[in-house]
Symmetry: C2
DNA sequence: GTTGAAAAAACAGAGGA
DNA sequence: TCCTCTGTTTTTTCAAC
């Protein structure tokens, strides 16, 4: 069953996207719609899982994980890699991908030295290639 | 100036991470601390920008952007690439990286066909290599 | 850090355009 | 489907300790 997202839904989603704690009352003002209706629409978006969660974004620099890197790895020990990554604090993202390498890992470390250590711990799983991120230009942006 | 994040802060952050709209009252109950104190700590985390924002995560499948891909591109027309990506709805992430390729683009399209179209529009900027994501195993996870 | 009272916001219905 | 109006509950805020 498909949910039709109309322009009003879109406006609400745009407001919530970067201000998830915004009160219904304020959303109501901004889009000139009554609070019950706004609440109703948000509930529907949540029920249909169009809104999958409200999350809090932390400044990774303050958590000593300000260095972003991407590691491409080729391995036959898939489960081992997945288990390893799930347990590793440095790993924020893991994708099974097509191509020469079969996994892409996004890693947040305190420094490039720590990245080297992390990559060292991957050698027994398979050959890898790392790209240090010099600048995060866009991140996690969804245009509605 | 450095902010010392203690265990109580960490607990609050863990609760907020995937439930950004959780009321102070509930956080207060869960960690057995008075509401004003919880509120006070959250305000400090916000002021110090340790909490950088509260965001809403959408189900990209419902937005007709359920296919994740990564494109590595090598170009000398950096500004052109950045401008192009900022204007492209498909692009959610863009990183300047080290290595043979100098940019990594994360793309969300409706299908692989749409990915092909997108990659076609990049040819004039530079040679690129794309990896279709077959499975999103971990995404945007921060272990505190 | 706590308590407790005042203010503000969210919720739940009913009735109607 | 959306609105307004209402009362009720919950949450937030802010004082004093």
């Amino acid at each position: 069953m498909d949910h039709q997202i109309d322009d009003i839904d879109k406006k609400i989603m745009q407001l919530l996207q970067h201000h998830a704690r915004m009160p219904i009352s304020q959303i109501s003002k901004e889009i000139s719609m009554s609070q019950p209706s706004v609440k109703d629409r948000i509930l529907k978006l949540e029920d249909k899982k169009i809104i999958s969660e409200y999350s809090t974004v932390f400044n990774l620099r303050d958590l000593n994980r300000g260095t972003t890197s991407f590691i491409l790895i080729k391995t036959e020990h898939c489960q081992e890699l997945v288990d390893f990554c799930e347990g590793a604090r440095e790993v924020t993202d893991l994708f099974r991908i097509s191509g020469e390498f079969n996994y892409l890992i996004k890693v947040q470390t305190a420094s490039v030295e720590e990245l080297a250590e992390f990559q060292d711990s991957l050698v027994r799983i398979g050959p890898s290639k790392s790209h240090i991120c010099l600048k995060n230009i866009l991140e996690n942006r969804v245009l509605l």
